[in-house]
């Protein structure tokens, strides 16, 4: 369970998180949506301890995360931009992360699934954007963790890889894991998400299932529902 209480974060003059409260249960796929700059990535980075909130508390599994780092062994994180150290080979990167985490992994299986075999001996700087993203996916699914955080996981993927990614996400869900996803691709969200959290100006604007959202906004398409959600504030 993730419990966020009164989270504030300001970058310069920009109040990114403005007293955000949030409770998420265990298991299921939760999509965090919101316009650009609504604080999605900041919220995720707060959960990971990469951004330190000005005020407020975050508890993951009933344990406050402030000042702690061990809890991160229960989280797999996939960053938005697949940027890796350039002069490291793909295999070395996998080995390094494995060495750092010391947890059982299924990197080999995943690398094969995404067809990374021929790229393992290449340096990361020579890979294409999509291939880097595949490396990113393998890195974030290789360990068995109760919480997965995926920030824009679909960027740059070809259709075949996208299908495999969806399968992987569903598979993780069926194992009872919590998967947090941010995405701007509504089709993708509508297909995989059980629950939607809509962020606006640093607060939760809506939290519920996709169907609830459609019902509230009286739209039968998630894309339109999201577009309508802010236009009709009385629905919130």
């Amino acid at each position: 369970m993730i419990e966020v209480n009164g989270l504030f974060k300001k970058f310069g003059k920009n109040q990114v998180l403005d007293g955000l409260d949030l409770v998420m249960g265990d298991g299921g796929i939760i999509a965090i949506l919101g316009p650009n700059g609504s604080g999605k990535t900041t919220l995720i980075k707060c959960l990971l301890g990469m951004v330190i909130p000005d005020k407020g508390t975050i508890k993951i599994g009933d344990v406050p995360i402030r000042g702690s780092w061990k809890y991160r062994s229960g989280i797999n994180y996939m960053p938005q931009i697949a940027d890796f150290p350039g002069n490291v080979k793909v295999r070395e990167l996998f080995d390094m992360i494995r060495d750092l985490r010391q947890q059982p992994d299924r990197q080999q299986e995943l690398a094969e699934l995404f067809g990374l075999g021929p790229h393992l001996q290449k340096r990361l700087s020579t890979l294409s954007g999509g291939t880097k993203q595949k490396v990113n996916i393998v890195l974030s699914f290789m360990f068995d963790c109760p919480l997965l955080i995926l920030d824009e996981p679909t960027t740059g993927l070809d259709p075949a890889a996208l299908i495999r990614l969806k399968e992987l996400i569903r598979e993780e869900k069926s194992r009872g894991k919590t998967v947090l996803i941010t995405s701007h691709i509504m089709e993708f969200v509508a297909e995989v998400a059980d629950e939607v959290i809509y962020l606006l100006e640093g607060r939760i604007y809506f939290q519920g299932t996709v169907d609830e959202l459609k019902k509230k906004t009286r739209q039968n398409n998630l894309e339109h529902a999201i577009a309508a959600i802010t236009a009709t504030p009385e629905n919130a």
């Binding site: 990971l48 990469m50 330190i52 780092w69 150290p85 490291v88 390094m96 060495d99 985490r101």
Partner: protein, 260 residues
């Protein structure tokens, strides 16, 4: 932390710049020995180069590494590793690979030339030790600059300024103040001013060890009196250590509170 150190170290050891740095010292060592034909004299020439060059390389390399490894750092931050280990590991990785290049680049030609049979071995070791200290100090300062400045251009600017100040401007100011206040007793002032700049401190230490402090005139005598004693040596070693520890401590302090 040791794992991060290991990866940073390997990463740097494989990069072209480490080789360039290593080969530069290797060539420098051979050329100096060839031209001087004397280990002791080569040590003096080498000192003049090391005192200026090591801080420059430490600063530039440190700041470059920090900015270039941004992705690596972010990857690590999401892993179950404390921030202190990430930054200390990277810092030690950079500093140790630079020190490695310095010691082996200079060590090989001197050893081949017969360093172990000459009496300059202690002078040479002192030179390497201060070189190592200067690397540690200026890499740490560079990490501090990089961690406090998101803007790379600004960061580079500050780093170059820092080096320029420590290696060149500081001496100028020091000299000017000595001239202006020449009517006053300046012994303590000049000792303090020397202690406060690691570049000057290293230079003075080596000059005194080489026993050519006569070149420094009256000031040299004062320094000799201060640094020549055991207490002076201990104090300067402590100062060099403080110069290393304080920036490293600040780096960890800031890193722990920074948003990524």
């Amino acid at each position: 932390m040791l794992k991060i150190l290991k990866y940073s170290f390997y990463d740097l050891m494989r990069s072209r710049w480490s080789y360039v740095y290593f080969l530069f010292y290797l060539m420098l060592g051979f050329v100096l020995l060839f031209l001087n034909n004397d280990v002791s004299k080569a040590v003096i020439t080498l000192m003049n180069i090391i005192i200026v060059l090591v801080p420059l390389i430490g600063t530039i390399f440190g700041i470059m590494y920090c900015y270039n490894s941004k992705e690596f750092t972010e990857l690590l931050l999401a892993q179950p590793i404390p921030r202190r280990s990430i930054f200390l590991g990277q810092y030690l990785g950079v500093a140790s690979s630079l020190t490695f290049s310095l010691i082996f680049g200079l060590g090989i030609p001197f050893v081949l030339y017969g360093l172990f049979m000459s009496d300059a071995i202690f002078d040479f070791s002192l030179l390497l030790v201060t070189g190592a200290f200067l690397t540690l100090i200026f890499t740490a300062l560079a990490f501090n600059i990089a961690i406090s400045n998101e803007n790379r251009i600004m960061g580079f600017g500050y780093a170059v300024l820092l080096w320029l100040f420590m290696a060149v401007i500081y001496d100028g100011l020091f000299l000017i103040s000595l001239v202006i206040f020449e009517e006053y007793p300046l012994d303590n002032f000049s000792i303090a001013a020397t202690l406060l700049n690691p570049v000057d401190l290293s230079r003075t230490l080596i000059l005194l060890k080489l026993d050519i402090s006569a070149l420094l005139g009256y000031t040299g005598a004062v320094f000799k009196q201060f640094f020549g004693t055991n207490a002076g040596l201990v104090i300067s070693a402590v100062m060099l250590l403080l110069w290393t520890i304080f920036p490293v401590w600040r780096m960890v302090y800031v890193a722990k509170r920074k948003d990524f």
